[in-house]
């Protein structure tokens, strides 16, 4: 049995406390009037001469003269007011997505009846325990958006929809009630599978036949069908709809690749941590090697999707589509291209060598870069539409990351203490113990 070490527990509380402080400062510093907003921007010494280039959701029709300036200033106010909310949402979603990626990986291992991974099942189940608290936080943020507490999703603003033909056309799908119903169905389905599969996994340890294992196999295969559809729709709802005019048909896959690689990375990191503390004695280098191969492969898969999305839109150059990348290349140049270096070049070059994939500190170091890179991926997906060129990785952003990191660590490691770290009666446990590459 794993015991949650006091040092780690205290570390997670400190992370949460510092994070709350950062989030609080972010909300306090957000302007409440147009004058304050202008003062903040002037104080930072950069004019907002080309801020209108990212006037997303305020419609293409620009008012003229003074009216334009006024709407411009109001837009700036909304961007700055969105900043702490967007920072909170990006971090909340990022850590939630790690747990969701692990859930998909776990379900695939179950459905494939993989022989190498049963030793890691408890680690995966521990990480997916974060789906409940993490999902609730994300849901609350979405519900607050629907309640007009923030302007993360412009299509939720009836003023904007009234002047926008496209959004009126999409209102049957993009409306607050249906949006929350969908979110509840997605979260409910994922959590239901997680809890049920965990129950069967624990029951299998005490049982004297393989019926729990077989049932787990069947529900996992069924769940993957639900997951692929719900994850894809979730990515349209929770991420793509911040740019409600823009759409991409492979967006669901693209977000999936991000969550999958982040999830696998966290499995590897938690496993290495537990092993360094003397737990999981039967996990060997080959298990880490396999996880690192997945990190390497899915990083390339992510890049493939990122580039496929980019190249088609860049080549066809249709104004409705290309604004998405114009904004990112103009205002988010460093995070946008830096993310490709972190998510592609770095893992490809570092994890290509077979020996490096078995070296724990190498896997952890690459993992940290991969996680930072995929945080940037979500950052680049949410920020351009919500805060535009006012983005900055400052106190609210880092505070949110720290808070959710602490929150994540606390719930994941607390779940790891609940059951023995090694499944006893999984039919493949012997194969997993002797797994050798």
């Amino acid at each position: 049995m794993y015991t949650f070490s006091n040092r780690l527990k205290i570390a997670s509380f400190i992370l949460m406390a510092v994070g709350v402080l950062g989030i609080g400062i972010g909300f306090m510093a957000a302007p409440s009037t147009v004058e304050e907003a202008k003062a903040i921007v002037a104080g930072h010494g950069d004019g907002h001469g080309d801020a209108h280039a990212v006037a997303e959701g305020h419609g293409a029709e620009m008012e003229h003269g003074d009216a334009h300036d006024a709407s411009h200033d109001e837009h700036l106010l909304h961007q700055l007011q969105n900043k702490p909310w967007a920072a909170l949402y990006v971090a909340a979603f990022f850590f939630f997505m790690i747990a969701l990626g692990v859930l998909a990986f776990y379900a695939i291992q179950r459905a494939a009846q993989a022989g190498w991974s049963p030793l890691l099942f408890r680690v995966m189940e521990g990480i997916t325990a974060y789906l409940v608290p993490g999902g609730i936080v994300v849901f609350v943020i979405l519900a607050l958006s629907v309640a007009h507490m923030n302007h993360l999703f412009v299509w939720m603003d009836p003023e904007v929809v009234a002047h926008d033909k496209l959004l009126q056309g999409k209102a049957g799908f993009l409306n607050g009630t249906f949006f929350l119903i969908r979110a509840a169905i997605f979260l409910g389905g994922w959590i239901l599978y997680r809890e049920y599969s965990r129950k069967l996994s624990l029951a299998q340890d005490e049982s004297n036949d393989d019926s729990n294992f077989k049932l787990n196999f069947r529900i996992s295969a069924g769940f993957l069908v639900f997951y692929l559809i719900s994850e894809s729709m979730m990515s349209w709802d929770w991420i793509m709809s911040v740019d409600p005019h823009w759409f991409s048909t492979l967006f669901g896959w693209y977000i999936f690749a991000s969550m999958f690689v982040s999830g696998i990375t966290v499995i590897a990191m938690v496993t290495i941590y537990l092993k360094s503390r003397g737990y999981l004695p039967d996990v060997n280098d080959s298990h880490i090697h396999d996880l690192a191969k997945f990190m390497f492969g899915i990083s390339i898969f992510w890049t493939y999707l990122w580039f496929s999305q980019f190249m088609l839109i860049w080549y066809s150059n249709i104004p409705e589509e290309v604004t998405y990348f114009v904004t990112r290349i103009a205002d988010f140049n460093l995070p946008f291209f830096g993310m490709v270096a972190m998510n592609f070049l770095f893992p490809v070059l570092l994890l290509m060598n077979s020996d490096f994939k078995r070296t724990n500190w190498f896997v952890v170091m690459t993992g940290i870069v991969i996680l930072a890179g995929h945080y940037m991926d979500i950052f680049n997906a949410i920020m351009p539409a919500t805060v535009g060129d006012q983005w900055y990785i400052g106190i609210p952003e880092i505070g949110s990351i720290l808070f959710f990191a602490g929150f994540f660590i606390f719930f994941v490691f607390r779940a790891l203490t609940k059951a023995p770290l090694q499944p006893k009666r999984n039919p493949f446990i012997e194969e997993s113990k002797h797994f050798h590459y």
Partner: protein, 173 residues
């Protein structure tokens, strides 16, 4: 040069693996093992040096990438610039996204084909080459271990029988 070799036949890959480990433990040099299919872990058990083909593959990939860059720069930018999708920028870098699929494909193409050719050269294989395996059954359902004899025929024979060989032959090589 006539040297005597002993051929031990096995009909199971697990038995073969154990036999290889035993023979190695008894400090005999195994000339070669002929298998109808690749046996996982056999190279390590025989103490063969790890393959360096992955390194050649990486280098071939780099060559392919370089060839694709030079080729597309010559074809699409220098020799005959074309206006495709309104992008006549006459600059390799600005048109680069359009060339990425070609860069990727040629990297894979070079790495894969040159790696196979390297493998053939290194294994001394070419079309219409006479088969080298000493017994046709090694292409069907038998595994064969070949050990050179240095005045220790009886000792080897006993050892190999002990490891579960189904047949033992002595031949001149």
């Amino acid at each position: 040069m006539a040297s005597k070799v002993i051929h031990a036949f096995y009909n199971d890959d697990d038995v073969l693996m154990h036999a290889v480990k035993k023979v190695k433990a008894a400090k005999h040099h195994i000339e070669e093992v002929y298998c109808p299919f690749p046996v996982h872990g056999l190279d390590k058990a025989m103490g063969l040096a790890p393959t360096r083909i992955a390194i050649t593959s990486f280098m071939y990939g780099c060559v392919g990438l370089a060839v694709s860059i030079v080729m597309m720069n010559y074809i699409m930018i220098q020799d005959w610039p074309q206006d495709i999708g309104g992008k006549p920028s006459f600059s390799y870098l600005e048109n680069m996204p359009a060339f990425v699929p070609i860069m990727f494909e040629l990297t894979v193409f070079f790495a894969a084909h040159l790696m196979v050719i390297t493998f053939y050269l290194r294994s001394r294989l070419w079309p219409f080459k006479e088969a080298e395996n000493p017994d046709v059954r090694t292409t069907d359902d038998h595994f064969l271990m070949e050990i050179e004899i240095h005045n220790n025929e009886q000792e080897l024979r006993d050892l190999l029988m002990d490891t579960g060989a189904v047949e033992i032959n002595i031949t001149e090589k």
